[in-house]
Symmetry: C2
Subunit: 245 residues, 2 copies
């Protein structure tokens, strides 16, 4: 039987999503360890995509096969019983035989959370990045509008290795402000390595007055990482949801 599951995790103490040799400190490694224990045989977990070390998820989606023979709800409860306290399975459901969490994903939403204040928010500090100087959110919104669309986003990507295409579609970049809390939502069909964090760094530099919002199209056209903004730290980034047809 093929299953789809939605889960949350706090990425703070993990080396990211993927297992590379040492599976102990990765989210995927923890999931596979628990599911393999349940199954009594190795289980491979497919995530909708990797999250970097320190990045969180409120709605990461995975697929895996199991012949455990219990209900989806029982699998969820088993996983929650044996997973560490910073990983929680929200739901498990039976999926079509060919369903694959990465290959079938059509849209993802990330949020980057900024705490714009001279004083740290100690309650949310693990899920926010603090920016001390005040930000011009209206200028950031104008820049965000210019960064949407279907483009080659190579300038906003840390290339680790050869990638076939760096063209992606971003449907929306929405910025919400609630006092010192600024939340930037990114919805697109896919995100390149570090893309949400470099887009955020570019928007923050616009907000600081270090960049003109009108120059965003030039940065996209440059296809040059050096022309875009800084890479923001991982702790502010949360994978919110993954959508499937």
């Amino acid at each position: 039987m093929n299953y789809k599951a939605v889960l949350q995790y706090e990425g703070t103490r993990y080396r990211g999503w993927q297992s590379q040799g040492n599976t102990e400190n990765t989210i995927q490694g923890r999931l596979e360890a628990v599911l393999s224990r349940m199954e009594g045989a190795p289980v491979e977990v497919h995530g909708s995509g990797r999250t970097d070390a320190g990045v969180h998820a409120a709605g990461q989606t995975i697929s895996f096969h199991s012949s455990y023979g219990r209900s989806a709800g029982e699998i969820r409860d088993y996983m929650n019983q044996y997973l560490p306290e910073d990983i929680a399975v929200l739901s498990v459901e039976e999926a079509a035989p060919r369903f694959h969490a990465r290959l079938n994903a059509v849209r993802k939403t990330y949020v980057y959370q900024i705490w714009n204040s001279p004083v740290q928010n100690i309650f949310k500090r693990r899920f926010q990045t603090r920016v001390a100087g005040s930000l011009d959110v209206e200028a950031m919104r104008k820049a965000a509008g210019l960064l949407c669309g279907t483009h080659d986003y190579r300038a906003f990507c840390s290339l680790k290795r050869f990638q076939k295409s760096t063209v992606r579609s971003i449907q929306e970049i929405r910025i919400e402000q609630d006092g010192p809390e600024i939340r930037i939502f990114y919805t697109g069909n896919g995100f390149l390595y570090h893309m949400a964090r470099i887009l955020t760094g570019t928007l923050v530099e616009v907000g600081m007055g270090l960049r003109d919002y009108a120059r965003m199209p030039e940065i996209i056209r440059s296809r040059n990482r050096a022309d875009a903004g800084r890479l923001m730290p991982p702790e502010g980034l949360i994978l919110m949801s993954v959508e499937y047809d």
Copy 2:
């Protein structure tokens, strides 16, 4: 010069507010260490009251004397620079010479946060206590109304030692529900040792159907700790604010 400061902390890794020999792992110890360093001489910090090991504060208030000779804003910045990342000073202001954070406090508000769901909320888990079985919030509200007033709250108190009076006034117990999140706000002129956590345990037992809300006056009258509910864990409790005339 006498100062009043408002601060936040995550109590998770501390042994509580007060220094008792080992000041390293207490909030008060951390504050006094930083202020003494600033002052170049020992500084004594008075908190509005103690918080137990693991309990948090969003608006703890302290008073201290300093002859540092800088502005209140500079003292705040100095403290935030040297305090650990789980303690933050929101504000420092000059206070009347006789102002004392504990002796002059007239009202305090605590909140106890419950996550009422079979699945853990991994993002807020350090600031909530999870209750798996569903709770009857309306019954809890009826019980809460009966627990307010001016009473001898000895039944809701873990007596560590002789206390002159166990009479306190609770002005309001307000219960907010937002999906699986239940927040119980307590406002009163003072709280006995463990009182907010034992009141919460009693309300939770009403919510679980283990107790009849109508019996609350009997528990108060009993003045017997054994008649009240369980002591809830510290991580759900937050000291929200302290008021002064």
